[in-house]
């Protein structure tokens, strides 16, 4: 066990799975980047350096830089999966899903079902999402709920290094297509992460903090906003229970309802939009299945219904924060 960053944890998960299983390959733009140099272990490894060092161990036949065509390498990854490999396709920014949407949602997602369950597409798509770097609405969106809409896709949204490693190993071993959504603000986050491989099952929420007054559902980087707010609120005498579902598909609705049963109050904080997003989905589940448990209306804390601005002051205003969450919790406590 050692302190590792989110970046290192992800790199280690890929490395260990590629060692364990020779059918695992990695492909995408700039994932090798620098192959063939004397010190190729230092190769670029993508814009966040997440895949650095992999090409020196596994070679250019298993860590493949691709032409800049998301649709083509997503399609190729599906084809390679159908040929018996376990590809990990690296989509540099989740926003670029726009160019390969059909391959993901109409092909990968439906293959098993449409062909009578006779074949599988064990594909993992690693991608990066989230605001905070001032790179605006074509590079910062949290689009994971869109993929959660599609039956046949699994969607993983890790909030820290420990979860990232275990969930990524589960994703790679999974026989269904999985989208693994990394948050770009978390790459430097450090946590104790076991050296050996381990898995975390999908659809099991993580209870981050227990408390009897309010349930807060948060995923990805919003977990850390929730933790800060809960510490602050505890000083005011309000005890929050924080739940990180970790995967939006499958979604652990049972744990959410279980917690709401204890608290009777629900606040959802999420970086995806206010409409048709994660927060709306969780609210709908609880409204439908747990209405009688509620002592107060559910509150969603999300960004406004606008594209993500670039100016630092506007972007900070866009991202849901501790102050907004505290206001929401206080409000839900009023009734």
């Amino acid at each position: 066990m050692a302190g590792k960053t989110y970046r290192q944890a992800i790199n280690e998960a890929i490395l260990q799975e590629m060692r364990r299983d020779s059918t695992v390959i990695l492909l995408g733009e700039d994932v090798a980047g620098g192959t063939g140099a004397g010190g190729e272990g230092d190769a670029w490894g993508g814009p966040m350096g997440v895949t650095r060092g992999l090409v020196s161990e596994f070679g250019v036949g298993r860590v493949l830089d691709t032409p800049i065509s998301e649709a083509a390498y997503m399609g190729a990854a599906i084809g390679a999966a159908a040929s018996g490999l376990r590809p990990i396709a690296d989509l540099m920014f989740i926003d670029f899903a726009g160019v390969c949407f059909d391959q993901i949602v109409n092909q990968a997602a439906k293959y098993r079902y449409m062909y009578g369950g006779q074949d599988k597409i064990p594909l993992t798509i690693r991608t990066m999402m989230g605001a905070g770097l001032g790179i605006s609405s074509q590079h910062s969106q949290s689009l994971y709920p869109i993929f959660s809409y599609f039956a046949g896709l699994k969607v993983v949204v890790p909030s820290g290094p420990y979860d990232a490693k275990g969930l990524l190993i589960s994703a790679i071993r999974d026989d269904d297509p999985v989208i693994f959504c990394e948050h770009k603000a978390l790459y430097e986050m450090v946590e104790d992460v076991p050296d050996e491989p381990y898995t975390i099952p999908f659809g099991e929420a993580n209870f981050i903090r227990s408390g009897g007054d309010v349930t807060i559902v948060a995923m990805s980087s919003m977990v850390h906003v929730a933790t800060k707010a809960a510490t602050e609120l505890a000083r005011q005498g309000i005890e929050c229970e924080i739940l990180d579902p970790r995967t939006s598909s499958p979604l652990d609705t049972e744990s959410i309802l279980e917690s709401v049963e204890e608290t009777g109050r629900l606040v959802i904080i999420d970086e995806s939009g206010p409409r048709f997003g994660m927060a709306s989905e969780v609210a709908a589940v609880v409204a439908e299945e747990g209405f009688a448990l509620l002592k107060a209306p559910i509150i969603k804390v999300t960004p406004p219904f606008v594209p993500i601005p670039a100016a630092p002051n506007l972007e900070q205003l866009y991202i849901p924060d501790v102050a907004q969450l505290i206001v929401a919790v206080n409000k839900v406590m009023e009734s």
Binding site: G33, G34, T35, A43, P67, I68, A310, N313
Partner: protein
Amino acid sequence: MTQKPYLHIPRPTARPGEVPDFSYLKLSDAGAVDRPPVTEKAKNIEYLSHQLVRVLDEQHEAKGPWDPSLDEAALVKALRYMVLTRAYDDRMQRVQRQGKISFYIQSLGEEAISIGQGLALAPDDMLFPSYRNQGLYILRGTRLVDMMCQCLSNTGDMCKGRQMPIMYQNRDKNIFSISGNLATQFPQAVGWAMGSAIKGEKHIAASWVGDGSTSEADFHYALTFAAVYQPPVILNVVNNQWAISTFQGFAGGERRPFAARGVGLGIPGIRVDGNDLLAVYAVTCWAAERARNGHGPTLIEHVTYRGGAHSTSDDPSRYRPKDEWAAFPLGDPMDRLIQHLIKLGHWSDENQTALEQETKTIVDDAWKEAVSFGTMSEPPFLDAQLMFEDVFKEMPDHLKRQRDELLALTGDTP
């Protein structure tokens, strides 16, 4: 003899620590390539996609049928804009290093393309640039201070704080906005040109992508549409040898020149020395004349070299030799134009020093003015209201409520 299938993984000719090797570049001598009439059928001019149109020779003299015979004033004007573009880039690169802007992309070594082409096109022609075409904005009269304000996302920002640095726009000067997603402007430029033809106008459209971006589907879709409808459009591939960390071989450059991508569709492709302002200008005039006179689209490949990092987010020493640019056989476009002007007796080292001093002052003054509109850390800051406007023509009620709630929380009154 039979052989098992294998995977060909392109490998650049030189990696960090190795000796740069550009032997793969097929060069033609200055003046050696024929200049066909603009009415010539695509099938008769396929050679243009394999040879390299060059005007300036090793002795810095203009040679051959593509020599546009620009006069002194035009040449000096081109040089001024190249120097200004480079000075602007240099300043912005440095202020990014100082943390004053979050991101920047230089066009170092590629200035002749934006400037040469911008000069060859008419002001009413519509431009769909890539992020490395800042020279087009500068040439069309976008004020440096406005461009700096965009990079600062401050109160003078033409995009009102909504676009990342370098994604300028200038609607008044017929330059489309820049997209963060590669190659998306290519089909849009074709569509704009179709619109011009539908309306019976003489305006043409031009767009630019990099070598790496030719892999995107949009590039191929655009070529198909251009081949089918024959609209007045110039489609440019700026082959600067590198995408981010992958070289042009990863876009298929090992097989055929990018200019030849049009040939299979019946679109004339023409390969030009992108570091030779005269050649770039001449080829663009040829393509523009074709387009304007109903002879359809042209694909131009500009052979050049990315002199700096891809952006301020990568370190090229990790993936290519440090001295690769110095070894690039087509040299530095600015130096080549200076040498040509000196050869003609129109320019001197003193003129150059004075010009660089003058542009430095222009850039200094622009920066001083730009920061007076605010920086990332210094007020004035953009009005928070702005985040909510222009999403739709009319703001929906639920957005108004979110705006009011958020602004109440921050103490900014709506």
